[in-house]
């Protein structure tokens, strides 16, 4: 709208010769070649003539108008404008609005009659409060419409909030359930962890016991080296086995360096040649520059006295040859 007013004023300035050379050229290029803009110039001419006739032009503009608008056409238009102004001035103001003007079909908006016109129509000669009442009524209607919109929005927001609240409660319930399950699982896990710890402790104890037993076993085993030959007497310390009270196993390491059998069978005999322990398939082990076979005998079987270990060399499976006899004396403390 303001652009149109600017164009209208620019057109009036053009008609009065008030534009610069450049603006005038630009206006003529635009307005003379475009149908609608050319009509704007004609409308500006109407307005200018009207202002001239009514004495609404400044002295300068009046002078410009009189200098420029000299054509017979414009002179005639000025005469018609004077008659029109005279006609309007002669009419009573209320009669100037001769008939209620009905909106024409080409009109874009619908100007309805009757109560609308009475409410919003011209107030000249009527109560000055009517426009105020109309404005108040319009304000009331607009406020009501706004309130309705606000109420609808509030209702929608409320229902959405209620729905969200329900969803939140459901989620809270599910969370609580999950937490309870988690708590149960955590309890079970803790229980399993404790059981595993206890098992590990038991295993450790077992291992300790086994180690203890092994230590005990190792500490209760004594080894003696026996050479082939006769038993030494009490004065002879050779082949004398001294067994202490805490010893449980006697390892008899027999020197078999003189033989070249791959296996040996050994028999521990008492003084009456009763076999008190058998040790078949002994493999000689190199040690200290010689070869030895070991016979482990429970100490409780070796009471103080003289014993003999009869050794046979294994030639083939099931066949043996006499090899050596080892005699020793057991002395306990």
């Amino acid at each position: 709208m303001s652009q149109q007013l600017d164009q209208h004023e620019m057109a009036i300035r053009y008609l009065l010769g008030d534009l610069s050379e450049e603006d005038q050229t630009q206006l003529e290029e635009q307005f003379f070649l475009d149908e609608r803009k050319f009509e704007e110039l004609e409308i500006a001419e109407d307005e200018l003539i009207d202002r001239y006739v009514r004495g609404e032009l400044s002295i300068k503009d009046r002078k410009s108008f009189e200098q420029r608008m000299l054509s017979r056409r414009i002179v005639e238009r000025v005469d018609v404008a004077r008659i029109l102004a005279k006609k309007i001035a002669s009419l009573p103001q209320t009669q100037a609005i001769v008939e209620p003007v009905q909106p024409l079909p080409a009109v874009t908006a619908d100007a309805s009659g009757g109560w609308w016109r009475n409410l919003f129509g011209p107030t000249r000669g009527m109560s000055s409060l009517r426009p105020l009442f109309a404005a108040s009524l319009m304000l009331l209607i607009m406020t009501s419409v706004a309130l309705v919109f606000i109420w609808i929005k509030w209702r929608d927001d409320t229902s959405r909030l209620v729905q969200q609240q329900g969803q939140q409660e459901e989620l809270g319930r599910q969370i609580a359930e999950q937490r309870a399950k988690y708590g149960e699982l955590e309890g079970s896990l803790e229980k399993l962890r404790q059981e595993r710890e206890e098992q590990e402790k038991r295993e450790a104890r077992y291992l300790e016991q086994i180690e203890e037993l092994q230590r005990q076993t190792q500490s209760l085993a004594l080894s003696f080296i026996l050479f082939p030959g006769s038993v030494r007497g009490p004065s002879d310390s050779k082949n004398k086995v001294v067994i202490q009270g805490s010893v449980s196993i006697i390892n008899l390491d027999l020197d078999v360096g003189a033989g070249d059998y791959s296996r040996y069978d050994a028999y521990v005999q008492d003084s009456e040649t009763n076999t008190i322990s058998k040790h078949p398939g002994l493999k000689p082990v190199p040690r200290r520059g010689g070869k030895y076979i070991r016979c482990a005998v429970a100490a409780k079987r070796l009471r103080p006295g003289v014993y003999n270990v009869h050794v046979e060399g294994v030639t083939t499976p099931g066949h043996t040859q006499n090899f050596e006899d080892y005699q020793f004396q057991v002395v306990s403390r």
């Binding site: 709208m1 149109q4 209208h8 053009y14 008609l15 010769g17 050229t25 003529e28 290029e29 003379f32 070649l33 050319f38 009509e39 110039l41 004609e42 409308i43 001419e45 109407d46 009207d50 001239y52 009514r54 609404e56 002078k63 009189e66 200098q67 420029r68 608008m69 000299l70 054509s71 017979r72 056409r73 002179v75 005639e76 238009r77 000025v78 005469d79 018609v80 008659i83 029109l84 102004a85 006609k87 309007i88 009419l91 100037a96 609005i97 001769v98 008939e99 209620p100 003007v101 009905q102 909106p103 024409l104 009109v107 874009t108 908006a109 100007a111 016109r117 919003f120 129509g121 011209p122």
Partner: protein
Amino acid sequence: MARQRVLRVFEWNGIKGADDYVDETFDRTVRKIDEGNTIDNLLAYLIGVARLIVKEVYKERSRAPVSLDDVSVVSRHEDPELIEPDQRELCFDRCLNELTKDNHSLILEYYEGTGSEKIRCRDRLADKLGLPLNALRIRAHRIRKSLESCIAKCLEVSPARNK
């Protein structure tokens, strides 16, 4: 339409005897075409030639300001065919009454008041008709144009002419 536009160039630049200059404009344009030149936009070319002629006239002439009231008096002497005001008023009333009821009311309401009162009247009229102000302005212009055309025809056939 082109002639009317060219005529306006001279009228609105204050050139008296605009009809002769319009002819000059068309003559120059035709000569240009005869010389073998191609003119893409004839109207634009005509307007351009008209503006050139306006500049030429400005250089040649100087005009003293003359009140249109005096011109009317002077013209009455110079142009014996000028219509008497009473005859013009009769034709005005006749043509005004020939307008439709709506146009009749509109044209009288549109030109009611002066200054800011005139603007308020036009705003109220635009609201009453449900029209933007610019649309109202165009409609009033066209009604006035048809009124003036009717008045001109009425004066042509009027028996009471001042000779």
